[in-house]
Symmetry: C2
Subunit: 452 residues, 2 copies
């Protein structure tokens, strides 16, 4: 279903893939709005110094310049944003006087990174983010809420099972301090490479470069190996014999997130102490999300708590957020043939045209259907009915309407059944009003049997 | 309501403005889908040579380069697209084997132009386009359809009256030939400057630079002065005494668009023979749209018929399209205070928190409301009820829900009325489910009287 893009890293989908991406975006938006997140769209560009303030990502920014910039015209110093968190933080600082806190927003936009493209990694891609920021303080329960809202989105999508893996920066930092690390951030960066380098090479990093003792390095790696579906991780952490007050605070927070989220959405969240997240602005809970069976493609939803991303010196705006990687998720669904699409157009009805002089009659039928919210289109020409039916069939449009002064009829071209119909009262089944996207993994047996 | 952006030409709206923009985009999308246009999103970048192939716009493109491009790394030659028509044409050529023709798509995306910003003119802005393209041929009736669909969008928006002004390139070109012009395109470009330069200076252009005789130039200007609400323009054109077969073809097409569109949407379209459109790929009908009373801001919806924008040498893909300038329209609505917004958040209910230990009860109420599609949020903390009500009031949330083991109640904080309620059955009025955007120009008197 996916077609290789002619510009590597800048994916584009065929019409069926467009329907899949739209479903993902619409589902995310609907769930976000049900939870009271307000829409936000920021500009696509940020001043370069704004983007370089945080994180390690400066290598990957695309800069802009005007094609016909005048001789000596100063470089505007603008780049395309590489995520939605930095622009959001900047928006909050600029507009704080006009916002109500805690400010809850969602933001669904493209972001750009000049990375080397590979599976699941693009130069242009769409993210769907939610964040909550407070002024000066932000209640901890929002760290539970982020996991619950994202789990609700994932549960509504026709995708393989997804598991949100949660860790906590305080837990990790406290533990690293407790084993004697001078630079906990350096330990975190090494542990973050476990997937790429494996345990032995990270152990070497920890002793040779970060300066840990061999036993300390082993305990850090033992910590990273802990993964539990509930708060039982706490016992396993304590069994490693490290004592630190920040560690205890982190254990309590992580337990609250895992148990709190699973109480609202059973099995949606696990504690996974390997999760590090590269960006260094996180200060508490961190999230990543695996699609079960497709772990190698990477996380499809990530985020965390940040206490000092947005601060103007006088006031700080602590926040927590989580982001759905729309393009990565869609690329898996299309590339692995995990979904079927019922049709590639919104129209559920094609209104046939009987003769070149009666096109207006067909337009009137269409107008009457549209008034009642039924998407439809009028056939492009007064071709033979067989050709008009084929026109509908090739697009997956299930119904063809035949205007007739003696009484209109509508034909279900899947079953061949044709019945009398009035454009002011007839409706398709409510599930047919929009294109359906269904998982190829879990076709319910009953509806398969029910098909002709 | 609008706040000046800190980056000139890159507008961003406050939360109320976000709601307005979302309404415009959602309305356009809904009407487009009701008419059977399928969603399309293309990448934001195009190879530069693709963009320079057409039109006069090359001065205004933003080019990309990686911040840390390696020494000697070849320039990728990529720019941000400046409209959605050129990327669409490229997509059709690349994917023609996978598309069904006529292919109807809508596309709502940002575009970028390195122009000098001024009122209604931005460096980054959102457009909402529809196009229909055929393979080798495209029926004329789609030129009527474009005007009807856009008029349907505009009629549903809380905006001042809008008038779609239509002209026809064949009519203009045939007329210019008929008065003896060697280069009809040069005449068109001069006439396109009428708004900017005025009649006298364009007359001078036409004689001194384009080489027309004085009487020929006068007749071209007389042609541009014709504007009629119906096909009576034809009589006025013919009264100018110019004879040309292409002119007659153009007159017939323009009459068919104006009368055809007005038959479906009374008063939506006028014939305006001044409309030229700068881009030279148009070959038939051209559209511009004025917001009555705000003409100086420029056209809010433009487009036209193009026969040779997309061609791969073997096959051509003639098309017709029209584009809504979302950002320009929203900037007028916000900048001139033409709309009111009922609330800045999706939540119609704030669920109060009675005590720190009963937050889970409030979350459960919220979950039960959400299952039935009622957007809501839980208060951030167990503050005094007065403070929680103020929290709702500041966001425009009309209802506050009080969980109570003895029986929940819900309060309409506008009227103060508080009633018993069950989270499995209570609903707000259906018109309250989403934030309302209403015109400040046409507040219906009745609903004002009905307010407390």
């Amino acid at each position: 279903m996916a077609r290789p893009s002619s510009l590597s890293g800048f994916p584009e989908w065929l019409p069926s893939g467009q329907v899949v991406e739209q479903l993902v975006v619409d589902t995310a938006r609907r769930v976000f709005e049900l939870h009271g997140f307000a829409p936000l769209e920021t500009r696509s560009v940020e001043p370069l110094e704004q983007m370089l303030r945080k994180g390690e990502i400066d290598k990957e920014v695309y800069l802009l310049r005007r094609l016909h910039a005048a001789e000596g015209e100063p470089d505007p110093g603008l780049g395309l944003h590489f995520d939605l968190t930095v622009p959001f933080a900047r928006y909050v600082l600029e507009n704080a006087g006009h916002l109500e806190f805690p400010y809850r927003r969602y933001q669904i936009q493209k972001v750009w990174r000049g990375e080397r493209p590979q599976e699941g990694r693009f130069r242009e891609f769409t993210q769907a983010d939610i964040d909550v920021v407070g002024r000066d303080t932000l209640a901890f329960h929002h760290e539970v809420e982020m996991a619950v809202v994202m789990a609700s989105v994932l549960a509504e999508l026709p995708i393989p099972p997804a598991v949100i893996q949660v860790n906590n920066r305080k837990l990790a930092e406290g533990f690293y301090r407790g084993v004697g690390a001078d630079d906990p951030a350096a330990v975190l960066r090494a542990v973050d490479k476990l997937d790429k380098l494996g345990r032995a090479r990270v152990a070497a990093l920890l002793t040779d470069e970060v300066g840990l003792t061999q036993p300390a390095a082993q305990r850090c790696l033992d910590l990273a190996a802990i993964r539990t579906p509930d708060s039982s991780f706490a016992r396993e952490v304590r069994a490693l014999g490290v004592v630190d007050p920040l560690l205890e605070e982190g254990i309590a927070e992580l337990a609250a997130v895992v148990d709190g989220a699973n109480a609202q959405r059973t099995g949606s969240v696990v504690a996974d102490l390997r999760i590090a997240r590269g960006l260094d602005y996180y200060t508490g809970t961190v999230y990543e999300t695996q699609l079960v069976g497709y772990e190698s493609v990477g996380s499809i939803s990530s985020g965390g708590r940040y206490d000092s991303l947005a601060s103007d010196g006088r006031q700080s705006y602590p926040g927590v957020g989580i982001s759905l990687g729309v393009t990565r998720l869609v690329s898996i669904l299309l590339g692995r043939d995990l979904v079927d699409v019922s049709r590639t157009v919104p129209s559920v009805v094609l209104v046939a045209v009987v003769g070149d002089d009666t096109r207006a009659d067909s337009e009137q039928v269409a107008a009457r259907l549209r008034i009642r919210g039924i998407p439809c289109e009028v056939a492009p020409g007064a071709d033979k009915f067989g050709k008009q039916i084929k026109h509908a069939d090739r697009r997956g449009i299930p119904y063809v309407w035949f205007p007739d002064p003696a009484g209109d009829t509508v034909k279900d071209i899947r079953s061949g059944e044709q019945v009398s119909a009035d454009a002011d009262t007839w409706s398709p089944h409510v599930t047919e009003l929009r294109p359906a996207v269904t998982s190829t993994l879990s076709q319910p047996t009953l509806s398969q049997e029910a098909r002709p």
